[in-house]
């Protein structure tokens, strides 16, 4: 096993990886940009090295600087987490050239799967079903519009290098196709430095269901069952669960086999995920492979009892996978909610600010993978994921109840979060029935998101009591001197103008 590992990430995932390393007796090196100086991952690591400028490209994406740090610190291996450099083949390649173990698959595999077009072609060859679409080289807007017309609508425009909804557009008709392609290309260029896009048939009642893979360097590949990730906003998962409410043993076996076939077709090693789209008739199609740890890996860990991050470390250090497919069992039902600093009623726009109070729920089978603490500044530099709340229960109904309880006991004050919104989704009758698709939020929550919910009386009372306890003397005096005849004398609620119109 490694003696020292450098974690090239921040936030909750860096914390998760550091803990796994420390439990295995591995020393950890954390890196941090100027704005992350006292964040949880920095306080937890055994050694910490500053990166300076918080701009991603100057910090967590800065390959030369990171390699230099790894060498100076004497780290034998690098764990990239997810995001940042996790799926960058150049980085994996550079590590390998400098004699540092990259904890993940080989650079070629990352490169192959990172090119969504090449990935689909490879999977088609391996006999894994793929979605009809255009993955060709004609990248001018006119040609793409023509290809799109052939595939038919609705249609998906997708950045070849993309992920997490970036550079992705759904197009309902030919009129808006050109503009969607241009915008996707622009976003992809700016995010990934590559503006190649491809087009895909957009499925009916689509679900996003993925399979977790573990593969060692001795020819053993297993899957750890599915994760249902259909609940998304802006094409970004926000609630994941396992088992999928739509899954049955036969389909699970078929999809599991396809996932293993997909991984074996590219000589995959370490942890990875095969993402499938499943339509209303339970046909499934390969969508893409994520050649890294997933954000939502904890739900698999809770239902299988397997520690995926520890296995990543063991596999990377050359150990054999001792878990056998036939011994693996899913038990119970797990749900993950992603806690974001964002405002659901304002288009899910990220919210920045300083966290004033943080109190995370706890209890049996409640897991919080968290990257936050009181007084932390949430900046616009990085992804606004604050933490992941994960629960396990004996069945789906109890898991939903537990998650709602846990969300109701999650105190994060200082930025706007999606906690309340997540509760509303979980409590929705159609969610409870398991009738979910990737359109769930758009279908059922358009109105909710524009509704005003009002300030309850108890909140008004609490605020008033708090202010009465805390307002400084001069403020109180000023209030007391207010003209008793002014219109402000009226005590109650009134409405300001109209809505805020964020066009």
């Amino acid at each position: 096993m490694f003696k020292k590992v450098l974690i090239v990430n921040r936030g909750e995932i860096a914390v998760r990886i550091i803990k796994a390393c420390q439990e295995l007796g591995i020393k950890t090196v954390a890196i941090y940009s100027d704005v992350d100086k006292n964040t949880p991952h920095v306080l937890l690591a055994d050694e910490t090295i500053p990166l300076g400028d918080p701009t991603p490209i100057e910090s967590y994406l800065n390959i030369p600087k990171i390699i230099e740090i790894a060498e100076e610190a004497g780290a034998e291996a690098i764990h990239p987490g997810y995001g940042f450099l996790a799926e960058n083949p150049d980085f994996a390649e550079t590590c390998s050239k400098r004699g540092i173990t990259f904890i993940g698959p080989k650079a070629e595999v990352i490169g192959l799967m990172g090119d969504k077009i090449a990935a689909k072609k490879t999977m088609e060859k391996a006999g894994v079903p793929v979605i009809p679409g255009y993955h060709g080289n004609k990248q001018d807007v006119d040609s793409l519009v023509k290809e799109g017309e052939e595939i038919g609508f609705p249609l998906l425009v997708k950045a070849a290098a993309g992920g997490g909804g970036k550079g992705m557009r759904i197009v309902d008709n030919i009129d808006s196709l050109a503009e969607a392609i241009e915008s996707a290309k622009r976003e992809s260029k700016s995010s990934f430095g590559d503006d190649t896009v491809f087009l895909e048939k957009y499925l009916d009642k689509p679900r996003h269901i993925e399979f977790q893979i573990l593969a060692d360097h001795h020819g053993n590949t297993i899957h750890l069952f599915e994760r249902e990730c259909s609940i998304q906003r802006r094409h970004q998962k926000i609630i994941e669960e396992t088992p999928s409410p739509v899954m049955n043993p036969k389909l699970r076996e078929k999809m599991g086999e396809a996932a293993i076939r997909a991984a074996e077709a590219v000589g995959y090693t370490n942890a990875g995920t095969i993402e499938f789209m499943v339509d209303g008739k339970l046909n499934f199609y390969f969508m893409e492979m994520n050649t890294r740890l997933q954000v939502e890996h904890p739900i698999t860990e809770m239902t299988t009892g397997v520690d995926l991050v520890k296995w990543q470390l063991k596999i990377a250090s050359g150990q054999k996978l001792t878990l056998k497919q036939k011994d693996l069992i899913q038990r119970g039902h797990a749900i993950e909610c992603r806690i974001y600093a964002e405002d659901p009623s304002n288009g899910f726009l990220p919210s920045v600010g300083t966290l004033k109070k943080v109190e995370e729920p706890s209890g049996p089978n409640i897991r919080v993978d968290s990257g936050i603490s009181p007084n932390l500044k949430i900046t616009p530099y990085y992804d606004p994921l604050l933490s992941k709340l994960v629960v396990l229960a004996e069945n789906r109904e109890e898991a939903i109840q537990k998650m709602i309880w846990a969300l109701s006991h999650y105190i994060v004050l200082g930025v706007t979060t999606n906690i309340s919104f997540l509760k509303k989704v979980l409590a929705h009758e159609e969610f409870k029935r398991g009738n979910i698709t990737t359109h769930f939020i758009d279908t059922y929550f358009k109105e909710y998101l524009q509704m005003k919910h009002g300030l309850p009386l108890d909140a008004i009372i609490a605020l008033a009591v708090y202010d009465a306890m805390h307002l400084r003397k001069q403020e109180v005096v000023r209030y007391k001197e207010a003209d008793p005849h002014s219109p402000w004398r009226y005590v109650g609620r009134w409405r300001v103008g109209g809505e805020i119109d964020v066009h």
Binding site: K357, S420, L455, A459, I460, I461, A462, A468, V496
Partner: protein, 163 residues
């Protein structure tokens, strides 16, 4: 003493007095008598008759947050001496919905634009936000240039309406 809280564009006015360790809260023509204890900074236990309210209150830079009954509310206290603050957007006033970086300015002052034309692109947290023309018109003023940092609520462009 009277305090005003703004929440979702509504203003809540409440009166509160402290006498002999009791709080007298007036809201919507009703008076509530409360006993209250701050068990640790911001953590309140408030008793009104048999009812117990547990809340956590904290102050941000410009707003207050209250956690109550599993829900979090953000309010803005409004100074009593101030005037009504309109939070309604004026037509043609295109403020940034987010703090981020201006990655593209597609227009120049004097340009004619059509409703829904993209005027400015702002990137924040790896996402792209498009500021579009709200109606046909002429670009009157541009407040930003490419690569600018922009704060939430800052104005980007002014468009003079035309038909």
């Amino acid at each position: 003493m009277f305090i005003n809280y703004e929440h979702e564009n509504s203003v809540y006015q409440v009166g509160i007095e402290k006498r002999n360790n009791k709080f007298f809260i007036t809201y919507d023509n009703t008076e509530y008598q409360a006993e209250a204890e701050e068990i640790k900074p911001g953590y309140l236990k408030i008793k009104i008759g048999d009812k117990l309210i547990k809340a956590v209150v904290t102050e941000g830079e410009k707003e207050k947050y209250v956690f109550i009954d599993g829900e979090i509310f953000r309010v803005k206290p409004i100074p009593l001496t101030g005037r009504r603050m309109s939070t309604k957007r004026e037509e043609g006033d295109l403020r940034s919905p987010i703090s981020g970086r201006v990655t593209k300015v597609s227009i120049e002052e004097g340009n004619k634009v059509k409703k829904d034309d993209i005027l400015v692109v702002i990137e924040a947290m790896k996402m792209e936000y498009l500021i579009r023309a709200p109606y046909n018109g002429v670009v009157k003023k541009i407040y930003v240039k490419e690569e600018d940092q922009i704060e939430i609520g800052e104005q980007t462009v002014e468009i003079a309406k035309e038909d």
